[in-house]
Amino acid sequence: MKVLWNWIKEFIELKVSPFEAAESLTMSGIEVESVEKLDEDFLFDINLTANRPDCLSVRGVARELSVIYDLPLKEPSYSLSFVLNKKPKVTIESPTLCPRYSALIIEGVKNTTSPSKVRYRLEACGIRSINAIVDATNYILLETGHPLHAFDLDSLEEKEIIVRCARENETITTLDGINRKLTTEDLVIADKQSPVALAGIMGGAYTEIKDSTVNILLESAYFNPVSIRKTSRRHSLHTEASHRFERGADFEETVPSLIKTAKLITEWTGGKVSEITDCRLSELKPSVINFRLKRYEKIIGSTVDFDKACHILEKLGCVVKSVDSGKCTAEILPPSFRPDLVREIDLIEEICRLNGYDKVPVLMPELPPVSSKEEMFKDFKNFFEVTTHIRTVLSSAGLKETINYSFESSEFNNLLGMSEKEREFLLNPLDSNQNMMRVSLLPGLLSSLLNNKRYLNTDLGFFEIGKIFPNGKEKEMLSILLSGKKNFNSPYKKEREWDFFDLKGIVERIISDFNIEKVCFEKSTVSLFHKGQCAQIIYDGKVVGILGSLSPVIKERLELRQKVFLAELELEFLMKAGLKGPDNIEIERFLPVKRDISVVCSVEQNVEDLLRFFKDKKEISSVVLSDIYKDEKLGKDKMSLTFSISLKQIKKMTEEEINSIMGDIIRELIEKMKVALR
């Protein structure tokens, strides 16, 4: 909202500079975003919070300054003689939506342009000058905050006003030239025949004030805020008037603003004023609030002088009654222009902000130490620790963390051949590139890859931790993308590209940090992946993740030349298992005995099974696959695997004892695992 400095000064005698006043307003809650120097004035741009309709006017801002600087607020008096011996005919059919409607008639005006000072002010505040009559209503709107509307009386059928809800299939062409279809929930101002204004929002084109207009009807009403807001939203029509009515106008201001406007109009255009019709079908009276200084102290944590508190409330326009200086309590009746003051806490805030937030001390609370025993917080703490751990591990492995949007393009998902099941669509996406909630983190990582490819950066190691939303359920996931070169040539190491086993190694490392006994990697075919390089991760009989190389088909679609490796893993099973603590500390007395075993098997042999076979032997303390060897001599589709195993020594073993143990292991290996010794 824009307000002019000299206009404010018509209401209050300020000695401070506009900049100083702006700073004071900001620090009392009326945020002045900027003060712009004009030729002869200063323009304040005020960012007003939604609870302060009373400040949507020059007078309101002046009133705030009168409290801050403890100065009197000047109210210019307007006298008007009602010479026409008639009254407008007004009927309110919807008193809940329009509890008060005041109106008068001015006959014999000669519409013209408004004085240059008025035009200057209106335009500085962002309102186009139209003609003297319309300008008068807008001028008073800016000055008092009360919206008014003028009708061309001779265009009103039977010259009467009916405030009612629109009927089925009724339409109105509003002043902006748009023909609007109305609903039965829209409140309208109608004449005997049809709607002539969208109540409290915008007038109709038919009854518009023209240069030729001679007789007018001037409206000043109070409309229900919720109803105005709903209609304004429904028609996407936000106006100066609707902005004020939906925040709550001043119920007692209809007549004073009506008189002021009529005074300006007759001053500028001549004409004779009728008596006022004031339909006041229900009352909107503020209720008395009990104020206790003790309560103020308990909430704020410091005190304020009780007399000062009462004085602030009085300056704000409240009536302060039943003051008990002993108990420091009072009964407060807020003014009609402050619909936001209904509870004691509202008064506490008023006193605190106008006394100055800087007067409140800065104190640290004494909180009990955070306890992880609290069952409710344990899972949250666990989640935070687990994700922090994974972030640390993966970034230390050289990967970069990304964050992608939770919504993405369904078209891109289709391009990747992602399943169309489980998709959840936004009803009002910003655009089609963000129309569905993601069901996998992988499309996001791939689009990050495509972003980087545009800058010729194709050597990437990415990960992301975030939620996916299959069927609207929220699931925490971890995803990894590896592509291009893993490292570059150096004197010590030849450059090479990321491969499947880099990815698997990273995934295994993550899983191995948790209390998880056994996961299996099962070869599978999933459309996003290369048919020969894809595995599902199985834990406790359930698929908990997937990893593999990006399908060559998709690679062609995305015009990617480099290999891309992708993994996605659920976090829930990791969180449930929890991070590992230290193992039992057990240092063997004797050095382990090391032996190698080489076997020949099919290239499709399940190596995890072989490794597990060794791990499960109680005589073996550790096993690693130390070599893979393929040779024509071994036979087609065969490979040789060498396992380096360490045997536990509980006592010093002789060569014979060792050979006997090894013999047993090898015999069982050949028998159970169906492999040959090389």
Binding site: T26, M27, S28, G29, E31, S34, T49, A50, P225, V226, K298, I299, I300, G301, S302, R343, I345, C352, Y357, V360, L363, M364, P365, L367, V370, M376, F377, F380, K381, F384, T388, R391, L394, S395, S396, A397, L399, E401, T402, I403, Y405, S406, F407, F425, L426, L427, N428, L430, Q434, M437, S448, N451, N452, Y455, G461, F469, E474, S490, P491, K493
Partner: protein, 343 residues
């Protein structure tokens, strides 16, 4: 006799002088002082000497033996040093060559900041909690004292899913969920993603917030100032100026907008702070009694404060990032600025 002794002495010293490795030195020791060494044999002959000669020759022989042993020892030391020096010169490296690299990745700045803040808040006694990102109107608006048609809803343009579900517009939605489950005292922070239908240079349709809530029987507005000042000082430095400015949120009262002294110009006025010297960093306030009503807390008994801070904006100030869109493009040139920083 003495002449013979002199000869042994000279020959031994010459041999020691000549020897060039530790093995030949050992040979010399054996040849001279070993069981059949020349000096040993000489000493055995001492018995044949007269009483007068014996002590003279004997002490001379012993003196020579000591000298030879000393010479042996010294030469041995010298040779050993030479040998090691040779090894070291062969193994010498050019220390200016680069070391072998170990991998170095990065954590996203938003998550780095969230980690920082979680640590800072936990030092102050707050526990971390999380809430759903798909919400219902009740938790996101209604129970936060924003009934339908409340003008404050305008500030938060919302993404909707079907069946009345929506993407939460602020982490404040977590407040009510937690209060429903637990009675005070309660000190929590809730980091997470939030969504608003906004997209321009300073707004992203998805961003991150941390919500905070402290409710017990005695937490005051002064404590709100205390905790938030502490946190901002921890984050930006102890000498940073912080100010609390009255504002409005439907779910807090009194409400305060918190400004910090502009971190770029230190309050002098620059483009970032629009010449004001101040930057708005978070919204806060005392929990509104209406919110307590929704969760069946006795509003005369319990009191406390809540706040919400935007991570993107704070990270911009902390790390000097100038465009909010950088956060989600995942350009490695951007992400690489955070290489090696651990939470």
């Amino acid at each position: 006799m003495l002449k013979e002794l002199e000869k042994i002495h000279k020959e031994a010293l010459a041999a020691i002088e000549k020897s060039s490795d530790e093995k030949s030195l050992e040979d010399i020791r054996v040849n001279v002082t070993g069981r059949n060494g020349s000096l040993t044999l000489f000493l055995k002959k001492l018995g044949t000497l007269s009483k007068e000669e014996r002590p003279v020759v004997g002490s001379a022989a012993n003196k020579i033996k000591e000298e030879i042993l000393l010479a042996l020892e010294e030469k041995k030391k010298k040779l050993s040093l030479e040998r090691i020096a040779k090894i070291e010169s062969v193994d010498s490296v050019n220390v200016t060559l680069p070391g072998r690299e170990i991998p170095k990745g990065s954590i996203h700045p938003i998550n780095l900041l969230i980690s920082d803040l979680v640590k800072i808040f936990s030092r102050a006694g707050f526990s971390v909690v999380f809430g759903p990102e798909i919400e219902i109107d009740y938790y996101n608006f209604e129970a936060l004292n924003m009934p339908p048609a409340h003008p404050a809803r305008d500030m938060q343009d919302t993404f909707y899913l079907d069946k009345g579900r929506l993407l939460r517009t602020h982490t404040s939605a977590v407040q009510v969920r937690i209060m429903e489950k637990k009675k005070p005292p309660l000190a929590i922070i809730a980091p997470g993603k939030v969504y608003r239908r906004d997209d321009d240079i300073s707004h992203s349709p998805m961003f991150h917030q941390i919500e905070g809530l402290l409710v017990d029987e005695k937490t005051t507005f002064a404590h709100l100032k205390g905790v938030l000042t502490y946190v901002l000082h921890e984050l930006f430095g102890q000498d940073l100026k912080v100010r609390f400015r009255p504002s409005y949120f439907p779910y807090t009262e009194p409400s305060a907008e918190v400004d910090i002294e502009c971190v770029f110009c230190r309050g002098k006025g620059c483009k970032t702070c629009k010449q004001s010297g101040w930057l708005e960093v978070l919204g806060s306030g005392m929990v509104h009694p209406e919110v307590f009503k929704f969760v069946n807390y006795d509003e005369e008994l319990y009191q406390g404060f809540a706040f919400g801070m935007g991570m993107e904006r704070l990270a911009m100030l902390k790390y000097g990032i100038n465009d909010i869109r950088l956060y989600y493009e995942n350009d490695i040139r951007f992400l690489s600025s955070f290489l090696g920083i651990l939470p």
